[in-house]
């Protein structure tokens, strides 16, 4: 009687590799179509909502809130404004890098980062 290892080996060898013969093409053809929203539409929605929100805030605040904010900002020492600007730059830059990596498969696969 044959042993387990021999039997397993014979079982594995008994199964031939099945050639694709168009199988993958048929599967891909049967997949649901990818729905890509136009990118400009997304951008317009985001920008539009931001403008609308700003407008609503301005109207509700009567306008003086913005004016007072700018005046107050102008009174800050210059070094504090520079630090604030630098910090904002860092935050925006970090988000831009993360977004770029997420949207670039080659870089994402290379770094194997999982955000």
């Amino acid at each position: 009687m044959i042993d387990d290892d021999t039997l397993d080996q014979q079982l594995r060898e008994a199964v031939p590799y099945i050639n694709d013969d168009g199988f993958t093409t048929r599967v891909i053809a049967s997949l649901p179509a990818v729905r890509h929203e136009p990118r400009w539409l997304r951008a317009m929605i985001v920008v539009g909502l931001a403008l609308l929100g700003s407008g609503v805030a301005y109207v509700i605040g009567g306008g003086h809130v913005v004016r007072e904010g700018i005046m107050e900002f102008a009174n800050f020492p210059i070094w504090l404004l520079l630090v604030f600007a630098f910090g904002c730059g860092l935050v925006v830059g970090a988000f831009a890098v993360i977004f770029a990596i997420r949207k670039t498969p080659e870089v994402r696969d290379l770094t194997r980062l999982d955000f």
């Binding site: 048929r26 599967v27 891909i28 997949l31 696969d109």
Partner: protein, 178 residues
């Protein structure tokens, strides 16, 4: 650098990249179709239809793949479920049909070549044992992985593999030329 299955899955999820999914299909089509051919007893057309359905389901449910098991294991599970649902529809899981099928295929009439004998002996095994043997011995899944694919206890898989092996050995020993 060849991308791993996990990389390809990530691409499909992030960008709806159907080319990446195509690569996954290309990599696993042979083993999935082979498994289904064994389960459907070499009904190639049915096996390929089920394999296509399995890959389609895999694509639609890719987000539920959490990477805890190998992608191939997850795929086998889907393929096995497709087969089971189809078999239920066709009433092939009923024991009477199993016995009838075995009675119709007399082992003494098959081609004496070892490969042919082996595959025939395999096709004579009851479904549960055949599936366990195909997954564990032919496709190299661990007992634990096969238990996940078949959604049955680990002990049952081990028992089915053991019984299946013994039957195959007995059958092949009887057919071996003296």
């Amino acid at each position: 650098m060849e991308l791993t299955d996990a990389d390809l899955v990530a691409r499909v999820l992030a960008d709806d990249d159907q080319h990446a999914f195509g690569e996954l299909v290309r990599r696993h089509q042979s083993s999935v179709r082979g498994l289904l051919r064994q389960l459907t007893r070499t009904d190639i057309a049915l096996a390929d239809d089920l394999a296509q359905e399995a890959f389609l389901r895999a694509y639609k449910n890719l987000r539920s793949f959490r990477g805890e098991a190998r992608f191939s294991t997850w795929l086998y599970r889907i393929a096995y479920n497709c087969f089971r649902e189809d078999a239920r529809r066709r009433k092939e899981l009923v024991g009477v049909d199993e016995k009838q099928w075995q009675a119709e295929h007399d082992p003494q009439t098959v081609d004496p070549a070892l490969r042919h004998d082996l595959m025939h002996a395999l096709s004579l095994l009851p479904l549960q044992e055949r599936t366990a043997i195909v997954l564990c011995c032919q496709n190299g899944l661990s007992h634990d992985e096969a238990a996940r694919v078949l959604d049955i206890p680990l002990g049952t898989v081990k028992t089915n593999v053991l019984r299946g092996r013994e039957k195959l050995k007995r059958t092949l020993a009887a057919w071996a030329p003296n």
